[in-house]
Symmetry: C2
Subunit: 317 residues, 2 copies
């Protein structure tokens, strides 16, 4: 079966979002390397527009909306970073945005989304289905729905993370990426395998948000109960219809990290690398720091996916 | 009177430390610009080797030690970042390092200095004279003394910060730099004025560490009581003999920030820019954020000088 996107889609996304999304820096840490035995290259999407990689997919999807449809606006559902990404992209294109957010989304993310000029609709994450709410708003208003991960334009946009990383460090031996719905991983995996077929790809989830871990082992999409994890960006209950086949085809393995391992990774990144990673953003780092990936991986790309975190959370590590 | 260094000294330093010190990234923040009315370019020395710009001066000074003198080692006195810088440089050159540190230096800085292989000698900052202790050790052991700021090689090394910043953003209208002994400021001012004579240069100190502010107004070096400020890197009591004439000749003004303004700037940098600045590192940002420099400066370079901070301090903002 053909995968949902190719590297050409990612290259087209890169051209579309160029000059709007940031080309984020790649950092190294001697202390991290000494502690883990790998040579790590951190792609710092916490410094991305809106504080997370999501701006890439959001921009690519919104910029691809035909002129005739733009006046009716866009709608998105998200626990936070995708919300901000679509709000930023909509503002950039001068399009009205409605964002459906869960009632337990971090206050910082809700405020930031409103700050970008979007209308925010809050729902009960334990009772209501955000996708259904999003679809209803789209039907009622004619707005274009920009899903958080399961869409070729969104996946292709996220893939630009790996395009930039491999442009800067072409000889990576492995790539470690966090996963919620799998959009970032799917986009990055397509790029990495196209540019460097020998690369080993590992996906990482929090233990309680192990939908892709279970699906990967079952060979088909599994749905789990709403995850309870501090990694608020990784609470998808099932992988995407489009993302899962890509991950299943290209990843070597999916590994899990505990809440304490996520906290320790956040603290390492904060104090040793001098940067803020949100819990989701520290998950891939946690996997390498705590030996969840095979030993001796060599030159490893690690995606720090975002940095949107409340001060209270940052000080509770 | 000729100033202690020229841009040629800084260019020589850049060549000497290339490939050892990091070329740090320059960040921007739309939120910061919207709030302040300037277009800011943050030179992020918190991502420098050792977590602060000091690695530049330390490396330049240690690399310049003649081969014949290296076996007797180096000695330095410092509240922290210069200590780490000299320790890093000494390790790089395989030279023994002795570092004299005050008893109230942050534990993280003492540990990091020891971690780089240096011998640490603690003194009472309120009672003893660190320079005298450093000189005594140098005399007894024959080690080369690497002073924290008042030395042409140290000043020239720190100037590479401005050399890189102006290489990346050549059309800066102003430059804002924190000051303790004035080594960073002196090096940067020499570079900035040589490359862009119209640039306006502002130095920033904490209110209680206002030795250069007072000296600038008096037209001569003034000594103050030991400063009490959270900006532990900015506790010099008097500007350098070599740095002060440079600052007096090239800076437009020296401005002061309060402890609360420093804390607010640290929090802004942490939550909005996703990076850790130590109190000293946030002082220049604080001056622009709180309107201590003239309005309408245009394109402003701001040096974030370091990121070495305890977790406890970071969570007390």
């Amino acid at each position: 079966m053909a995968l949902a996107i190719t590297i050409d889609d990612v290259r087209a996304a890169a051209a579309r979002i160029q000059g709007i999304a940031h080309r984020t820096p790649v950092f190294t840490s001697r202390t991290f390397n000494a502690r883990t035995g790998v040579e790590a290259f951190f792609k710092c999407e916490n410094f991305q527009l809106g504080g997370a990689f999501k701006a890439r997919g959001g921009l690519n999807a919104v910029l691809a909306i035909p002129e005739a449809d733009r006046a009716r606006g866009v709608v998105a559902f998200s626990s936070g970073n995708h919300a901000q990404a679509v709000a930023i992209a909509a503002r950039h294109c001068d399009i009205a945005a409605t964002i459906v957010m869960p009632d337990d989304a971090p206050a910082a993310k809700v405020e930031a989304t409103k700050g970008y000029g979007a209308r925010v609709v809050i729902y009960d994450r334990m009772k209501e289905d955000r996708a259904a709410i999003g679809r209803r708003i789209a039907e009622e208003t004619g707005a274009t729905l920009v899903p958080p991960f399961d869409h070729p334009h969104v996946m292709a946009g996220q893939g630009t993370v790996a395009l930039e990383l491999l442009d800067e460090v072409p000889d990576l031996d492995a790539l470690v990426v966090c996963m919620s719905g799998g959009g970032l991983m799917a986009g990055c995996a397509v790029v990495a395998k196209a540019l460097r077929p020998s690369i080993r790809i590992f996906g990482v989830e929090p233990e309680s948000g192990n939908d892709i871990y279970l699906s990967f082992r079952a060979g088909q999409r599994v749905k789990i109960a709403p995850p309870q994890t501090i990694a608020d960006g990784l609470r998808a209950e099932t992988p995407g219809e489009l993302t899962f086949p890509v991950i299943h085809a290209l990843a070597e393995d999916i590994v899990l990290v505990t809440e304490d391992e996520i906290r320790a990774a956040m603290k390492f990144v904060l104090l040793r690398m001098k940067m803020v990673a949100e819990p989701s953003g520290a998950v891939a780092t946690a996997a390498v720091l705590h030996g969840k990936v095979p030993k001796g991986l060599g030159r490893v790309g690690i995606v720090v996916s975002g940095g949107n975190v409340d001060y209270y959370m940052l000080c509770s590590l």
